[in-house]
């Protein structure tokens, strides 16, 4: 006990104004007073109740209103990319033709690189022209991991000179790629240097002299 009372009137304390404190209200007195007030102001009570019901109803309706889908849908989960999206094939240069290759053959190298995702397997390499066939070294299928590259030596053999394109501007190779997501065939257009080397090689292969 410090001997100092509350600075402001608090519970069960009253500011001293010279009047004697009122006797405490008997239990039930409040309900009685409310009931009396309710009898006197029935309409106001009704109005207040109506307002409360309306607000509660409005709140309920708002809370249970049909939800619109979120403005921005959830970001789709990361998926394994398609093999053609992560693999690239570029032309390197001409190569020495293997000694055991048939006549009218020539060789060149391409680089297959894989940028990301699971390993990509090359299951087939073809070219679209009638009159040409090809083999690869390494032989298909072979696998390349993400972040690495594989040099492929391609040896083309001219089977029919009349059906080999002598000066195609944008020749390409069709490469079948497979990864955990899918198997796809992609045409890799290797550009003007490949086009020139192919034309030159075909000219040589299909000239009268055999190599």
């Amino acid at each position: 006990m410090s001997g100092i009372g509350p600075l402001e009137p608090g519970e069960d304390t009253h500011a001293w104004d010279g009047r004697p404190p009122k006797a405490p209200r008997p239990a039930g007195r409040t309900r009685t007073a409310l009931a009396a007030w309710h009898r006197r102001h029935r309409r106001i009570t009704f109005a207040l109740l109506a307002a409360a019901v309306l607000l509660a109803g409005g709140g309920y309706l708002h809370a249970t209103r049909p939800q619109r889908p979120p403005e921005r849908p959830e970001r789709p989960r990361a998926e394994v990319p398609y093999p053609v999206q992560v693999a690239d094939v570029t032309y390197l240069d001409g190569r020495t033709t293997p000694a055991d290759a048939p006549p009218r053959s020539f060789s060149f190298a391409v680089l297959l690189s894989v940028t990301s995702g699971p390993p990509v397997t090359v299951t087939r390499v073809t070219q679209p022209y009638a009159g040409l066939s090809l083999t690869t070294e390494p032989q298909v299928p072979f696998q390349t991991k993400a972040g690495s590259a594989h040099k492929i030596t391609i040896t083309m053999h001219v089977t029919k000179c009349g059906k080999a394109p002598r000066n195609a501007a944008l020749p390409f190779l069709d490469v079948t790629l497979r990864n955990a997501r899918a198997m796809q065939v992609q045409s890799f257009i290797l550009g003007p240097r490949y086009a020139q080397d192919l034309s030159r090689s075909l000219e040589v292969a299909c000239s009268n002299r055999l190599r």
């Binding site: 607000l55 619109r68 257009i189």
Partner: protein, 410 residues
């Protein structure tokens, strides 16, 4: 008493109404997604055909560029800069395109332009933009001369340093189509038709050149008027030529009726075209006999690209009325390239746009590189996209279905 209760009821109703209004205002608040970072407003101009026959493609470009600006604002990608788009209709007309270019140049807040769709329109805009050093990134122009000069086949010379594009050129698209038609569709005799426009005649030329080199034979050529709808005379010539296939350099508003009328003339042969015919409207115009018709398009199918999934989802959520169409992904990337260039310039200038912002942004565009909707986006020394993908589509069951895809890696 009665009055008092009336007041009370009125108050209650007002409170309820306020509650409901509050719900409504919160919803509309959610819709405000353009962001408002305050500070500087940068306007990205969009030029495309927003009315007329080609509006399906043009509106897809407009909406997609708008989406890019909104996403950049949401991400607060460039601090202190709010992006907005302003779209002008060129009606696929070079003269209108040139007027639009002048208008964009005159508006100081415009710091980059996405568009146009048509190569012929681009030709009329390039000098206007280049003189003002205002960067332009087209999502759809495929004419090789726009970046590599008129003599691009023999000597490539870049004419305008302010011009860039995210689409692959016809120098690749035409030959790729020729290779497919000759080697895979096994068609050796072609009838070539074009609409005399920059895009159409250029594409037909690159196709024809490669088709001949492969050993194919051109059994007839014709030019049509882009304003015409009756192609019966040409269709009869095709029928009598003995062609196994028709190559059309032009756009879908003419390609659709042309395909239909060629088949009606008795030549049940496929019509092949470029990216200009690869729109769903083609099928509506060509009818059920269009099955087997082919189109090449620059880029891979957007739906197949993992990088495009977010774009497709955002576009859907954006509530745009029109489809994003063939160039939506490329338009998004074009706008984003401008945004990236603005970001670079602002970052290099202490967080503010410099006085010569247009020139700086044009310069920065050359070095822009990011993973976009259509894959890696960057530009070579001519302003061409380094990402060169192509797809051959065939009409099957009334829809374009991809049948072959290629990548240029030269």
């Amino acid at each position: 008493m009665r009055q008092r209760s009336l007041i009370a009821i009125t108050a209650a109703l007002a409170a309820g109404a306020l509650t409901l209004t509050a719900c409504g205002s919160r919803d509309s608040g959610d819709k405000k997604d353009s962001g408002d970072g305050g500070g500087t407003t940068v306007v990205i101009g969009v030029d495309a055909p927003l009315t007329g026959d080609l509006s399906a493609m043009g509106l897809g470009i407009k909406n997609s560029a708008d989406l890019a600006a909104k996403n950049a604002n949401k991400q607060n990608l460039v601090k202190g800069v709010t992006f907005k788009t302003e779209a002008l209709d060129d009606q696929a007309q070079p003269s209108a395109g040139q007027q639009n270019a002048s208008k964009f140049v005159s508006e100081k807040e415009v710091l980059g332009v996405v568009g146009p769709l048509n190569s012929s329109v681009a030709e009329s805009m390039q000098k206007v933009f280049d003189d003002a050093k205002l960067v332009q990134v087209s999502p759809a122009n495929t004419g090789p001369a726009l970046t590599q000069g008129q003599d691009w086949q023999t000597k490539k010379v870049r004419g305008y340093k302010s011009y860039f594009r995210t689409a692959t050129t016809d120098a690749i698209q035409g030959p790729f189509a020729a290779q497919y038609v000759f080697n895979e569709a096994k068609k050796k005799k072609v009838f070539v038709i074009d609409d005399k426009k920059t895009y159409g005649s250029g594409l037909a030329a690159t196709f024809t050149d490669e088709f001949k080199k492969l050993g194919g034979k051109v059994v007839g050529t014709e030019h049509i008027n882009p304003d015409a709808k009756d192609f019966s005379a040409v269709a009869t010539k095709v029928k009598n030529s003995g062609a196994q296939v028709v190559y059309y350099g032009g756009e879908y508003p003419q390609a659709g009726p042309l395909s239909k009328q060629i088949k009606a003339a008795g030549a049940k042969i496929p019509l092949v075209g470029g990216d200009g015919i690869k729109d769903d409207t083609f099928m509506k115009l060509a009818g059920s006999e269009a099955t087997g018709d082919l189109a090449t398009s620059v880029g891979a199918p957007v739906e197949d690209l993992p990088s495009a999934k977010q774009f497709v989802a955002d576009y859907k959520a954006g509530g745009y009325k029109e489809e994003y169409s063939a160039y939506g992904g490329y338009a998004y990337d074009s706008a984003w390239a401008i945004i990236e260039a603005v970001k670079k310039v602002v970052d290099d200038n202490g967080g503010k746009l410099p006085d010569d912002a247009r020139a700086k942004i044009t310069e920065a565009m050359q070095g822009v590189s990011f993973d976009g909707v259509t894959g890696k986006v960057s530009f070579d020394e001519f302003g061409d996209a380094t990402n060169k993908q192509l797809t051959v589509y065939a009409v099957k069951n009334g829809a374009w279905v991809p049948v072959k895809s290629g990548t240029y890696s030269g």
